[in-house]
Every structure is written in C-alpha cells, then in structure tokens.
C-alpha cells in the first residue's frame, strides 16, 4: 500500500528556500543532515544537553535535536555551512585553539555568533553554557572569541598588540578590562635550578595574533588528506 506523501514544509536554510517532504515530527537536525545534505550540524546527545546541534533559527540559538520540522515552517535557519567559512569567528577558532577535535565546533561557533559582536567574558560563559566541549577546557574558545571581537574594532586592535608581560590571562576578578585579548602568559620565575640541570626555559604559549587581525582560514594547503569513496587500496610501500 503506497503511503501518502507528506505535505511539503518550506523553510529558509542558509538563505535558500528549501522545501522538504518528510514526516512533520522528523527532527530539524536530521532534516538538515539528511534531506539538505548539510552534515556540519552534529548529534552529540539527542537530549538538548551538549549543544553540538546548535543552529540559529529566526535569530536565536536553538538545539536542532529538539525541534520537529513541522514547527520550522517559514523559519530562517542558519547552519555552520551558512557562514561560508568567512566569518571572523571561524578563522579565530581555527587559528587560536578554539577547535581541537572539532565535533562541538559548528555548534559552538553558531552559539558564539548568536552572542553578538561584543560579548564580555562573563556573557560568553553564560551564552555558551549550553555547548559542551570536552577537549579545550573552554579557554581556547574564549581566546578565539576575544580575538574575533577585537579584530573588528581598530581601537581595540591597537591595544591588543600590547601583550602586557605582567598581566595574566583574562581572569575573572582580576583588575583587567574585560575586553582585553588574553595576554601572552608571562615568564614566571623558574625557581632555583639545581646545579646539575640545564637552565629551564619557561615560556607561556604565545598567541600569534598581530595587529588585532585574525589570520584568514588556511584552507588545505598541506592539510590532511581525506579518504573519499571506495578506492582500490594502494599498496603500502614500507
């Protein structure tokens, strides 16, 4: 017996009018991944806890795993693909340690986009509390967002050049302007080295951001090779 076709549901995805004929209770997450072939949005838990499925719907960050497509008719949805790799947050995440394994990254970036252009660190913590990252401890994410933020303002960009050797990383409760790009971790006293050891070099991880500009995304030059499709196995030559 032929099943009646589902009524088309029309929404806008990344600026494109999209009509899907799928069961109305199918999750927006699965519609995006399967019917729109946009696999950038990820499923980490299915229960709205991890935020890996975050998309922007009608201007607000939402968990796509909790929305039936039947409630998204007429909605404007932006996925990570909709940023086209050109958002300053994307370059910042890639270059400043905001992404390690990358599975939380699309959702994290969209949640960060939804914070607006000038969030304070406290607003970032609150605004990203629904996005769990297991790799970074969140610090690299804050650095990336701060860099993308200051990259917009020339005034802030100028001040971010001064990597104050005495200041600490942007820590809550410290007397620092909240918008300051986290400074290079200063050289700490190495303590008294014992005579038989070579002098230890103590350094903080330098952040290679100059002039407040975030270097653009470095696309695949020398990047990892991907394996696509069934290929005849090449012989290992070792």
């Amino acid at each position: 017996m032929k099943r009646p076709a589902f009524r088309p549901i029309v929404l806008t995805v990344n600026g494109a009018r999209t009509a899907v004929r799928v069961p109305p209770m199918k999750r927006l997450l699965d519609v995006l991944r399967e019917d729109c072939s946009l696999t950038g949005t990820k499923e980490g838990c299915g229960e709205g806890e991890c935020g890996a499925c975050t998309v922007i719907l009608d201007g607000r960050a939402v968990n796509a795993c909790l929305i039936p497509i039947g409630q998204a008719a007429g909605a404007r949805v932006t996925t990570i693909e909709g940023l086209k790799g050109r958002h300053r947050l994307q370059a910042a995440f890639a270059n400043l340690g905001g992404a390690q394994c990358g599975i939380c990254t699309p959702g994290m970036i969209l949640a960060a986009v939804a914070l607006g252009p000038r969030p304070t660190l406290a607003q970032v913590r609150t605004g990203l509390a629904g996005n769990i990252c297991r790799c970074t401890g969140y610090e690299g994410i804050y650095r990336a967002i701060a860099a993308a933020r200051t990259a917009r303002s020339r005034k802030a960009a100028a001040s971010s050049q001064k990597l104050d050797a005495r200041s600490r990383t942007s820590a809550e409760g410290r007397k620092q302007p909240k918008s300051r790009l986290p400074a290079e971790a200063p050289r700490a006293k190495a303590g008294v080295p014992s005579p038989e050891s070579r002098p230890s070099t103590v350094l903080g991880a330098a952040l290679s951001v100059s002039k407040g500009r975030v270097p653009p995304l470095d696309r695949a030059r020398g990047g990892p090779e991907r394996v696509e499709g069934p290929k005849a196995p090449s012989r290992s030559r070792s």
């Binding site: 209770m25 795993c65 409630q71």
Partner: protein, 273 residues
C-alpha cells in the same frame, strides 16, 4: 532517537480556537510548545504519545502585559522573553531568576512557561515561583475558560487538573507584596536538573515553595505560619523537615536535600544571599 518519528502526526491548527476544537473533537492530542521536554522523551523512547498538536505558531498564546496590578504571561512565552521583559523584571524578579537557571540559552529560547507547567515535573524550576506568587493558571477549552489557583493545580506526581481537551493559555500573577527570593541548587552551574529549588516571598506572612523535595512542587504552610508567628530559624527548619519528602535518586540523596532545604530556608529568612 529511540522512537520511530515517521508514524507520528502533527496537527497544525490555524488559530487557538481551531486548536481547542481539535483537542475536543480529535483527541487524544499532545500539545507541543517548545518541545524541550517532549523530544527528550521521544529520544529515550519513554514517551508513548503518537498524536501531536503544534501550538508554536499561535501568537495568541504569547505576550506579557500588566493591567490593574495583574501580570499576565502567555503560555508560549519563552524563558528568553521572560528574562528580557522589563515588566517581569520589575514586578516578578524571582521568575526572571528562575528562567535564567533553566538549561542554557538554547533551551531558554524554546522552553515556555506553559510547557513547564503542563509538563509538571516536580523539579520544574519555575513552579516554586508560581506557587509562592500564588499565580492563577488560565485553562481554556473549546467551550469554556477557567482559572485555577496554581497551588491547586497538581493533584499528584505529574498529574494535574488540566483536562485532555484543555490548554494552559496564560498565567496570571497578582501583585506580590514582599521581597522575592529564588535559589536553585543543581548538579552543576548550568544545564542542570535541580536537587532542591526554592522560591520565597519575605513578608510578615512569608510564602515558601520548594521543588524536587516531593512528588509535586509544594508550599510549606506550617513553616510559613511558624515564621509568621515569630519562631526561630531552628524551629522553622524542624517544621520544614516534616513538610518535605525528599528521596534518594541518581542525582542526590534525601539527607542532602533535607540539609540544603533547611539552609536555604535560613538564607531566605535572614535576607542573606
């Protein structure tokens, strides 16, 4: 996802009136607001409902307004809207405080006050606020409208007086006299289910409501009376223990919940935050 979603039907009412007619004539239908609880149940395969009614487009169920001292919040108002509302911030700040503690931004953008009420979890974070504020729940069917005092809304664990052909359409709050207080003690700082949650109004006759310490949200009238009559904190704490019934579960223990509830009571009554 452990529920097959293809066979599930979703009715799309054109208006509130249409929705109510569908509920009356074509039930059973499970109303869907922001889905932040329903889809969790579908994901785990623990929700058996198969026929759903989409409320999301019904703007009649939205809106925050205050008239003649009564604050009226539409059932589909999201936590984000509550947090952003100057009116709610001025007149019912404990509801803003509760809304900020629910989930995180993504959940706040979709979760609704009506959904929190209809879901009826004993851990619902807004529910102690509604109890302490002595809100009225507006229920509508195709044929009538009625208002039920929130304190009489639940009759048991996840059971309420709402009929299957009724919708929660709005919540009304009379003027709250006294200092409002709210605290949630969760499993972590965000995205957490409460272990104990308490809302209170500090006044000569205080109002105190708690969640996660009984099968439903509870007011604690004997504790309130004792404090009104000048009991010491220690005495009030002892009475409190008789009015709450916390359990051990995967999140916490009964003894922890008892001690914390007592401490929250002291913190509330002493005006220290």
């Amino acid at each position: 996802m452990r529920t097959a979603l293809s066979p599930l039907t979703l009715r799309q009412p054109r208006s509130l009136a249409h929705a109510l007619r569908l509920l009356r004539d074509e039930g059973p239908l499970t109303p869907l607001a922001g889905c932040t609880d329903v889809f969790v149940g579908l994901n785990f395969g623990t929700l058996g409902d198969r026929r759903f009614l989409n409320l999301w487009p019904l703007d009649q169920l939205r809106g925050i307004e205050r008239r003649a001292g009564v604050l009226r919040i539409g059932a589909l108002t999201t936590y984000t809207e509550i947090i952003a509302s100057a009116v709610v911030g001025r007149h019912l700040p404990m509801l803003v405080a509760a809304s900020r503690e629910i989930g995180a931004v993504q959940v706040q953008n979709r979760g609704t006050l009506g959904g929190n009420i209809a879901n009826g979890s004993p851990a619902g974070d807004t529910l102690p606020v509604l109890a302490a504020a002595e809100a009225l729940v507006e229920l509508r069917s195709a044929d009538w409208t009625r208002k039920v005092p929130f304190t009489a809304f639940y009759t048991g664990y996840r059971v309420s007086v709402r009929r299957s052909d009724e919708l929660v359409t709005a919540i009304e709050f009379p003027e709250v006299a006294g200092a409002q207080w709210f605290r949630k003690v969760g499993t972590r700082a965000a995205q957490s289910i409460s272990k104990v949650v308490m809302a209170g109004v500090r006044a000569a006759r205080p109002r105190i409501a708690l969640g996660s310490v009984a099968p439903t949200v509870v007011r604690v009238p004997r504790t309130e009376e004792a404090l009104a009559a000048g009991a010491t904190i220690a005495e009030a704490q002892a009475i409190l223990q008789e009015e709450i019934h916390p359990i051990d579960d995967i999140r916490s223990t009964a003894s922890y919940r008892r001690r914390v509830a007592a401490n929250l009571l002291a913190q509330f009554w002493n005006g220290s935050d």
